[in-house]
């Protein structure tokens, strides 16, 4: 009988897979109570490192061509497709769902990555434009990515929860710090492996596993975090998160639909440029 090679589930920060600087981890069991893994219990310091990495990656990623970003997101869908079995197994183990339900979730996630991949070079067309101002000026408005966006993964669907949070944020050129589901962190770390092999530049997505109640307050009050998708957080925390976010006027939203342009635009800013017309 062959002994399995078990995976060490670590964090994903700046394109690397470190353990928590705190040295902490927590025990994760499947629905039947069998040991699965010891994911890292990320600390405040890990979160700050993740924000530093995200901030450093912003200039390059936001100035990459939209075509390039779209191809990289599509490449992630390709990688996901090839690793379907791995994700199905992890979803089944933690969510306790049937093979077909788990498979459907993986397929839906892949399709959602593809949907958001195609948006990257259309956002400015649908949501920007020229403005007919009353004077001899050329005037146009374009949406630009916000900066570093915190994404809180939900506790219901491991992989789909990550996809609907991350894909709309990064397709426009933002970089992200994801706080993974506490109960369902395996897909998050496996998704990091997908990112690491999809030409996604280091630091564009950073993934932390651990205690949400410990990490969310630090994310909400961090002055270099520009926005938060709190769809995956407990609704009871909305007020607290928003209050902490007012210190730098973070853009903080909760969304209902998986596939929506609103998810993209909420983490963009409109820039309007004027120039005189004349000879």
């Amino acid at each position: 009988m062959r002994i399995d090679v078990m995976k060490t589930y670590k964090l994903y920060i700046g394109g690397a897979f470190p353990r928590s600087e705190s040295g902490r981890s927590y025990e994760l069991k499947d629905k039947k109570g069998n040991f699965i893994a010891n994911p890292a219990l990320a600390s405040r310091k890990d979160l700050r490192d993740a924000v530093v990495a995200a901030k450093a990656a912003f200039s390059g990623w936001s100035h990459a061509t939209a075509y390039n970003r779209g191809q990289i997101l599509y490449r992630m869908a390709e990688m996901l497709e090839g690793r379907t079995e791995q994700f199905v197994a992890e979803i089944k183990a933690l969510e306790g769902v049937s093979d077909s339900v788990a498979r459907k979730q993986v397929q839906d996630s892949i399709d959602l990555w593809v949907w958001y991949a195609g948006w990257s070079d259309k956002i400015s067309t649908t949501s920007g434009g020229t403005n007919p101002i009353a004077g001899p000026y050329y005037n146009f408005t374009i949406p630009e990515p916000l900066g570093v966006v915190g994404v809180i993964a939900d506790e219901k669907e491991s992989l789909l929860g990550l996809t609907r949070g991350l894909a709309p944020v990064i397709t426009s050129g933002n970089t992200a710090v994801l706080i993974a589901s506490e109960r369902l962190p395996l897909s998050a770390i496996s998704l990091a492996e997908v990112m690491a092999t999809s030409d996604l530049p280091a630091g564009v997505v950073n993934i932390l596993t651990g205690s949400k109640s410990e990490l969310i307050p630090w994310l909400a009050s961090h002055m270099e975090v520009d926005g938060i998708d709190l769809s995956g957080a407990d609704k009871k925390l909305d007020g607290e998160i928003k209050k902490a976010g007012t210190e730098n006027l973070k853009r903080i939203y909760r969304f209902e639909k998986d596939a929506s342009l609103k998810r993209i635009l909420s983490f963009m800013e409109y820039k309007t440029v004027w120039h005189p017309i004349g000879i």
């Binding site: 004077g135 909305d238 928003k242 210190e247 006027l249």
Partner: protein, 482 residues
């Protein structure tokens, strides 16, 4: 400075066109009502310190009454008014504002202290244009990109500042009404009069009672409005400090806010700029409206190779700015809006000197009465100086220098604000490159301080949430659009 080449004869606009009441009530449910607080305060002319009128101090009970009126008007009338009819009310308001434009311009100059040249040519015509523009949207909202069936929030609380009293009213009220909301408006404490005159316009337009309510008062009145339990949305223009307080106070309540807050705009002049035009642009960028402009170009970034020549020209131009009677048609720079604002400007300017920058003010004579500050620049300013970091909101320009375009971008973006920026160069590719790098919601290239109802306005970072104007500004008043 030597004597002026041309002496200007006084050319005062007549104030006879304005008929002020000595006292004003609150405008609630289409009627003038006395304040339940039984308290009044004076609105004065900052250029002379004369009392213009006694105005009501709205308290919590007054705010409650106004919100109830707005709610009833929303439920019973406005939400049932057909969009094309809503549009016609807004068109009417636009036309009435145009008809009474001079009256509004003179009153705005009296109450605010800004020159008649600006109220006549900028504030009032742009206010009318905002209503005209948004009127047309009222029955076309399904084309605006916010779904097939865009819905209003309901009752909107709107709090506006003293720097553009009527224009900020128009920026707030026009889109709110066009999208089908009703409004409770709280004008600034020091400049309530054009909002009260606007209430008359609503009556003349036969706007249904309660659709627009005006509750005057101070910060406590504004707080009572924001904290009222039956408002569906907050729209605020003012300081970043107060904006954060508002954001914090509504965090638990799940109602959205639009915030147009402060700025510390960089106006960047490259060595290949059209220098004479740039000098005019810098002047307009900081001295327009006494510098009481959130998007003012209050930090001048000059490329090192042109510093001496540019500053000589700038100072020579500053010396020709005519400071004085706001009602004089030749006046360029009017009065500072209040004693409180004047002391804030003085305090920050003193910090500039204390921290080691060099101050220079235009040699102009200031009137004895009223609140005045001369056009002033600081050179030798570093990024650490308070005058490079804090919003002065007065006619004070801080001059910094740079060597490379990259350095200019770094300095321009080195602020928690992100409202406006200016670029001066003849090179097209450099303009587009700089416009891409700058973290600001409005970029003026080879121009500055231009506004239009079709052009979205609003800030990045701590300059606020959302946009006003254009298709993008409509999102602020359509439920679920943002």
């Amino acid at each position: 400075m030597s004597a002026d080449i041309f002496e200007y004869a006084p050319a005062p606009e007549s104030r006879a066109i304005v008929k002020l009441n000595s006292e004003y009530g609150l405008f609630i449910n289409g009627k003038w009502v006395p304040p339940q607080s039984k308290k009044k305060f004076f609105s004065i002319n900052p250029a002379t310190e004369e009392v213009l009128a006694r105005v009501s101090q709205g308290n919590q009970a007054d705010v409650d009454k106004a919100v109830k009126a707005a709610r009833a008007a929303y439920n019973k009338v406005w939400s049932k008014t057909k969009p094309k009819e809503r549009a016609k009310y807004l068109f009417r308001i636009a036309r009435l504002l145009q008809e009474r434009a001079r009256e509004f311009a003179v009153l705005e100059s009296l109450d605010n202290g800004k020159p008649i040249r600006e109220t006549r040519d900028v504030d009032v015509p742009l206010s009318a244009a905002h209503f005209f523009y948004h009127a047309g949207w009222a029955d076309k909202l399904e084309y605006a990109g916010y779904g097939d069936n865009p819905k209003p929030y309901g009752v909107v609380a709107q709090i506006i500042p003293w720097n553009f009293p009527l224009l900020m009213l128009a920026w707030k009220v026009a889109p709110a009404l066009a999208t089908g909301n009703t409004v409770v408006l709280k004008p600034a404490e020091t400049t309530p009069l054009t909002a009260l005159l606007f209430a008359e316009i609503c009556q003349q337009a036969e706007l249904p009672a309660g659709v627009v309510n005006v509750v005057t008062g101070d910060g406590a009145t504004g707080a009572a409005l924001v904290n009222h339990g039956d408002i569906d949305k907050v729209a605020f223009t003012g300081s970043t400090e107060v904006g954060k307080l508002i954001a914090s106070s509504i965090a638990d309540r799940g109602i959205p806010a639009t915030l147009e807050l402060g700025g510390k705009g960089a106006n960047i002049v490259f060595d290949d700029a059209p220098i004479d035009e740039a000098v005019e642009g810098i002047i307009n960028g900081i001295f327009f409206n006494q510098g009481h402009v959130c998007c003012a170009g209050s930090r001048l970034l000059l490329q090192e190779s042109i510093v001496d020549d540019f500053l000589t020209k700038l100072q020579s131009r500053m010396a020709k700015i005519r400071v004085g009677d706001p009602l004089d048609k030749n006046t360029d720079l009017g009065a500072i809006n209040s004693a409180a604002q004047l002391s804030k400007i003085k305090e920050l300017s003193e910090s500039g000197t204390k921290e080691g920058a060099n101050v220079w003010s235009a040699p102009c004579s200031l009137p004895n009465k009223g609140f005045w500050y001369p056009p002033t620049i600081f050179t030798g300013v570093t990024q650490a100086h308070r005058i490079a970091r804090e919003e002065i909101f007065g006619p004070v320009l801080s001059v910094l220098t740079f060597r490379t375009p990259q350095e200019a971008m770094e300095k321009a973006n080195n602020t928690p604000y992100g409202l406006s920026a200016g670029i001066w160069t003849e090179k097209g590719s450099k303009i587009l490159w700089a416009a891409q790098q700058l973290k600001a919601g409005v970029i003026w290239a080879n121009t500055f301080n231009k506004f239009d109802p079709a052009s979205p306005f609003g800030g990045y970072k701590e300059s606020g949430w959302g946009r006003e104007g254009g298709r993008h500004g409509l999102a602020a008043y359509i439920k679920g659009a943002k």
